[in-house]
Symmetry: D2
Subunit: 437 residues, 4 copies
């Protein structure tokens, strides 16, 4: 039987060795025969470094996996079985802009949450739709495993405008579950967590230990938080909120629940010359690529874990494994709602527990959202829908309505000003907004 | 046939002469035989002034309407046909506190919208429920016409906890309609407006002129805004927002759409020693009562129109007329949703077009909320529901969730701090929060 | 000011004098200047008789209303203000077939309810859509007042496929209300009834007398039924059902609640040579037209009331009056749901209380359907939607699903057989089903 | 570790050896240490026969599983891990009555579908609630695996009135899946079917082969039906219906889709002296118990497969295995909807795909019901809800509304007559209906 062909778009990313490690670990199950790393011209050098490192990683294990690197996406996609997208339109420069612009409006400056995520979505949606269109032609039965943020928006865009089967992934849920397992000192296989919400806006709504619903019991003890995600600073007070809501939030909820503190911290970091997260990542990346160049390195270096992508490979490859082997296991994924969350339309992409087999990912019914956070989720989903509309059609009114609906953008005047500044700052990447002008 | 008995709770208010004028104007239709003005001990002097003035007003017209004033609410309620509530728990002092506390958190300081409205609701809900309970005993078939703000929350509280038939009123919709009529230069009887939303959070969603839907056409021309409401400062930019949304908002929407500017203006006013709206109202009131004392005054003085209650009497008395005469006319009211707005639960109180006859107010189906403001309305309704829960049960967790859901409160930390400061500042009026401590 | 132009399609119907009487009675309000009677070639003689009679009726009153008769529908429609449709595709012959075919399957044989109504809808929908299309061209602002049965289905078809403003009418609700008024010995203006359901499948769900909800009280006494509708035989037991359901049903509900008895009665009538209702109507019509020919007759003859269309004119003309005079009165009409009944989609045509003004008919929110009849209404609405689909597209599968969903058709085999026999029997009128064969 | 304690209520049933076989087969996984067979006094002899046979079955395998038989239910329940209910209130005599009464009204005479199922539910619900109440006291953490029909109604009753975790089982879905697997010649593990509906009213709505959606493709070929269920006669025409609906129905749908034919067949069988299904089962049972008595018999005899319970043991024990081993596998079960089917309330019990682990069964989101059968499912669910209400409260009006809503009961008069005859015939088992008379 022919082995799997995996295509990694954004293959020159520093994360690729993590993915490669997962591919190698599962070689007996997945039988991968080819991995194609795709990147753009600007990433040529990094792509080369990654190709060589991953070849050494494969070589060390003695597996027969062909690694290739290309800037010709169409060539790469032809005949693919799985396409993993982890590209970043505009690179870290654009991310830096996404993080800084909002801060000028005393608004959260974050790459996926708030106006920064909006900007990223505007740049990313047109590209993912190009990829999906090429896949329809070149590998119509392949699965698109999307990691590119904002993952929920990107996945909903593909679902809405393409026939390609797309599943949105994020490493946050798997980290939340692991963290809870550690805090409770209960191995993961004795734990069953129900997730509900949107990408970077989800909660563990129920926790079962050995089949017994322990959700209420949990909140009598201090158990949650502290450094779940390396890339998100945590704030004091989280525990209290959690105890009142009786929900375990994604760490990204800090941007909503502790908005002022988060903004202040970001502004201080910027003003103190420490820069934003993008600046830190640039440094980390630089160091990582120095390491990656070392011809003696033939494993994923431990320093990669500083980068923030913990369990990233686990999330992606265990998903591919479930599809490939038809194992029916549960993953927390971004998929079409189909009624799983009653408060959202059927076509909304949500983040929740899904069973996965060869036919894809099927969300488990989650019922109604917890009342205390229901309106927050509805607001953000409305923002997401308008954002997709804005990105696809270059529609300023939709863009305005997107930001107006976002709970972290306060007021129509701010929405208007942010919109204009974001479009201007990203004009190279937003041809849809300048067509026919 | 026995004439009507009207009871005005908060009868010592400076607004009462406005109401009295409406009662007198409609004497041939309503045949009012008795008006009882009720107030608390602290308002005794004002009550006396109002009683004398309104007696002179009646006397001037030669009608046989008995005016009485009392601090014994039960005595007043016995046998009432209509009970109009316009009381203010804590008086203008409390209002001043409601307006100032939020400003310390860079949050809108307004008596009905945002944390100020929350504080007012906490004080008011227990009192309105006491009144409703007394009415169940003393005048179970009487109608409760509520003007006390926040009118939507207060009405929903009565609907939820009492069998008394209660209709919530506000003078904003009638002013919006009149204003539009002037702007379009179309007499009101050739205009049909559809309203949808919540109290102080509603929109004209459709405008018909001579039966033709002119909604889209309206937004091609500049037509809206400037001084609809005397008590709400308007801001630049409103027109642009309106043109994108294609909805005519209540002026209170400025607090959401131009939050920063509104907060800044309020803070500046406070810092410049001009005080808040409550301070201005105190002055106006003082002057009004000076006027009212004049034994020669036997009409509503024109200066009352400065007070901000334009068409207040028209709204109340035309409603009573529709009930009393069974005329089936349309009023914009705060009533149980009953499915009129599909996005809200059946038991939510909404503000929308209603037909009114002897059997009460029946909302006209409004369908789905306009998509661009749907999540805003859902969020505020969630806030309202938690607020009622907090007020009735003295439930701090519900109070926290109320503020957490309010789109003008940013973050859990702010919600928590506001909650504690509001409860502390209002402790005299919030026994439910201190019971059993 | 130019007077109104009314067009009556199916003008040669024996009902027209009834309509004419209403037009004459309201001449001071409506100021009708022209009535155009339209019919097809086969109805030429009747059309002529009606024209002459109505001219005599107008002449008697001395009004300046021009009556014309034509078989050129386009000519008639040009410049119309109101178009009243009361045509019957296939005439009474087709009705007779609609009544007889179902009886062969032990199924209700009725012109609007059950398979007979399905057949009638298949014939009628394409014709009403032709009319609506002509109106879009020739009188786009005119109102289409539809009486042609099945009125709900016909109205939903126009709403779905045309921009013409269409309101569906039926004389059943007004008769139910009058009947209740008599039974309760309470004048209509002291009564307020809430209706909910579909055409020929609706209920009075609430009854207020002098504003007081008397719904429950009503069912303690025997008050309902006996000969509300001349054209529907009533059965024993109705009262008991009504008392359990605490709902006052349209008399057409007898076909659902007493199906076997109704079928038996119809079959016996047919077997005893008495024929179906169509046969009786044919005789009545024959006699009526004999009367109509009398050159001395210049009023609506009393014998018309035997025909079954009681208050038909009142329903139509009072509706036109409300639109024309913008009076905002309540009528029970067939209109787009718009959320008024929560259990049905927004685009479903329902029968319920509406306020009517120049902008049209706006349904009052009715909330959830009574639980005991909810599934019945949902089933019939599903049947209606499939029926429209079948009629418009000549879609046999949709026709099968329509009958399969109808609560009076028992089983897929019966549905299939009925479908084929109905299509065959009506093939002259169903070109959509034979296109491209 | 202590082995499992299984309690089988209705242990004297001829099905028990089937269950026992499953228990034995899974001994290495489940480690059952005790099986308690419970029955009532009237079943004492059968219980004894079963006990001895199952002991021989265990003995043959040499396992250490203690079998006990008792008529003391409380004693049996104490400390149970799983309680399997397969009792039949009133035995086959009552079933015979359930099958015969409806036929007198030309209505389907079936033990679970239609008025027969209604009668069975009235007898069964009070008993299952007694059991659940005892479990709350004696084994509150045990799982109730219910096979007693009508399984959906019985499960919803337990969910509504008890805290016991209850899962409703049926062997139809597993048989449908196996049958499809055979017809398609595709092994079960390459097939993924989505089920939606209610017990004995469900459909396979989607079929995936090797992960590819083949649903539409299936209906181009003849593939479905013929003898899926031994106990349901199949009729001609099924295939055609299936092809139009593009849904694979439970064989019980024949009672809805081919009602007349099914009734005719049942009536003929009865009139020809062949009796009803109950009569056939009585004979089969008699023969089975003769076999069971044979002291040489130590396996489940092949003749049991004639009884109609194919894969009954597989369904029950594989479910217990998933709970016990926390394996997360998919089963088609009767569970609380929780939003999985958008058209039904969250608390409705539905039959659909569920993932099962130690925490229980979680339905996979099924979205909206297929439009063509949506109203049928809604009607039957309404019937089910009224039936539970009738059974629990002895409420005749609810019973009437139940039958009025049932698509197989035609008319209020029939509903009324059936209700009275059913209550009379079952009065021994319906104390709730005669309390306080």
């Amino acid at each position: 039987m022919k082995g799997l062909k995996l295509v990694i778009i954004g293959g020159g990313s520093s994360y690729t060795p993590e993915l490669m490690e997962g591919i190698i670990e599962r070689q007996s199950i997945l039988n991968t025969s080819e991995v194609v790393l795709v990147d753009i011209a600007g990433g040529k050098e990094k792509l080369h470094i990654i190709k060589e490192l991953t070849e050494r990683m494969v070589g060390k294990c003695g597996f027969d996996i062909k690694i290739s690197a290309t800037m010709d996406r169409r060539e790469a996609l032809a005949g693919a079985d799985y396409v993993i997208t982890q590209f970043r339109v505009g690179g870290l420069e654009a991310r830096s802009s996404d993080e800084k612009i909002p801060l000028r409006y005393n608004t959260v400056g974050q790459e996926t949450t708030g106006p920064g995520g909006f900007a990223k979505a505007l740049r990313t949606v047109p590209v993912i739709l190009e990829i999906a269109e090429e896949m329809e032609e070149l590998c119509p039965d392949a699965w698109l495993i999307n990691f590119t943020n904002p993952s929920g928006i990107v996945t909903e865009a593909v679902n809405t405008y393409s026939s390609i089967r797309c599943i949105g992934l994020c490493n946050v849920p798997i980290n939340m579950e692991r963290h809870l397992s550690e805090q409770l000192n209960v191995p993961a296989d004795r734990l069953y967590c129900e997730f509900a919400g949107l990408n970077h806006l989800s909660w563990i709504t129920k926790v079962y230990v050995d089949g017994v619903n322990k959700t209420d019991a949990l909140f009598e003890e201090a158990l949650f938080k502290e450094n779940i995600m390396k890339n998100i600073p945590s704030v004091n007070g989280s525990r209290e909120v959690v105890n009142i809501l009786k929900l375990i939030p994604s760490p990204y909820l800090d941007y909503y629940f502790f908005e002022k503190e988060m903004v202040k911290e970001e502004q201080e970091s910027l003003n103190n010359g420490k820069g934003t997260r993008a600046d830190k990542v640039k440094e980390v990346e630089k160091e990582l690529f120095e390491l990656y160049k070392d011809p003696a390195l033939n494993i994923k270096p431990v320093q990669l874990s500083e980068r923030g992508g913990s369990l990233y490979s686990e999330a992606a490859l265990s998903l591919i494994q479930s599809i490939h082997t038809n194992d029916g296991r549960i993953h927390v994924l971004n998929v079409r709602n189909n009624g799983a969350i009653s408060d959202l339309t059927e076509d909304s992409v949500i983040e929740t527990n899904c069973i996965v087999n060869k036919s894809g990912a099927h969300p488990v019914a989650a019922g109604k959202l917890p009342e205390a956070v229901r309106s927050l989720v509805i607001s953000v989903k409305q923002y997401e829908k308008y954002t997709i509309q804005a990105a696809v059609n270059g529609d300023r009114a939709a863009g305005f309505k997107a930001l107006l609906n976002h709970p972290l953008v306060h007021g129509a005047d701010t929405a208007q000003a942010l919109l204009e500044e974001i479009i201007e700052a990203n004009k190279t990447y937003l041809p849809n907004f300048f067509r026919g002008r």
